[in-house]
């Protein structure tokens, strides 16, 4: 979390929140600690965000697009199959680092245990965005049921991330192998 010293209190709070919520959990991170890390008073925090819940949702909405985009290939990869497997290769690389703590969207929904929480809605939108991206690539590749394949690939993504969270070890190719088996089954070569 590199936040410029000239960043506004709002930006510092959002950056500290995204970092702490990911590393330590939404529920585990109290407002005191958050404000202390951000270098912002509690009074200022509550002037900027009505509630901690609102801050949780906005921090995820702000960090989410960068997280999402960081898994996607650039335009030099053109075959849909390669583009899809790229996502899992990035996941494998991340899961091999000590900083990896699972999917921030799934983790937030798990932490909150509340489907109606505004941050769970943000999490849902981002998981749907990944599923839609997979489905669009699957459609471009002529898959029989691209929407189903999109959901299946997200299941592999999240189940692989969960494996790392539980076992604390790298994936050793498991997510790529599993995604590839489903691509084969759907005729995406």
């Amino acid at each position: 979390m590199a936040t410029s010293k000239t960043a506004t209190p709002r930006d510092r709070l959002l950056a500290a929140a995204a970092d702490l919520f990911y590393r330590e959990g939404v529920t585990a991170t109290g407002v005191e600690r958050l404000c202390s890390v951000a270098g912002v008073s509690k009074r200022s925090m509550y002037q900027l965000f009505e509630t901690k819940d609102a801050l949780v949702a906005e921090a995820l909405a702000t960090s989410g697009p960068v997280t999402h985009a960081s898994f996607l290939p650039d335009d030099t990869e053109t075959r849909p199959r390669d583009r899809i497997l790229h996502v899992f290769r990035v996941l494998e690389d991340r899961a091999a680092t000590p900083e990896f703590a699972g999917c921030p969207f799934v983790n937030t929904a798990t932490d909150l245990r509340d489907h109606a929480h505004p941050a769970t809605e943000v999490a849902r939108d981002f998981k749907q965005r990944l599923t839609d991206w997979f489905a669009a690539e699957a459609r471009a590749a002529g898959a029989a049921d691209p929407d189903l394949l999109g959901r299946q690939l997200t299941v592999v993504f999240d189940g692989s991330a969960a494996r790392n969270v539980v076992h604390g070890t790298s994936l050793q190719g498991l997510s790529v192998t599993t995604a590839a088996a489903l691509l084969d089954a759907a005729g995406v070569v």
Copy 2:
């Protein structure tokens, strides 16, 4: 959580812990609330369990075998493929109920964000137990790489549970369809 009035304070604490940790989260459940629900004083709790962490681990170790067994088929199902798909049918049934809140083992590891926590070790053992069960069935069915298939099926299980946690909707056959595709790919008919 139906605990007999004659249950010991220890049993009441373990039952309340398993229930609250699953429904609301390990971090979200404070010791005060836990003792209040269990009808046990904090003093008694700390006489029975050295720390909250020890209680978290023991509650999961105590409730885990029942959770694990509840997904498995009985002996009337004999084909390994049917026995494996039974697990996913149970998952689909559970995920269609409002009480379902994901896999308790994955959730505990996610809540704690600490691979060395004793409860994360318990969670790891139970996920490995499921993976080993899948692998044994896959081996009985003559799968080419039963250990890989076991890990893949656990990925599908956990990714499907995560989908429910995020979206709050039933799985509509997604976990069964995905597991079946991987069984097909591994030659388990």
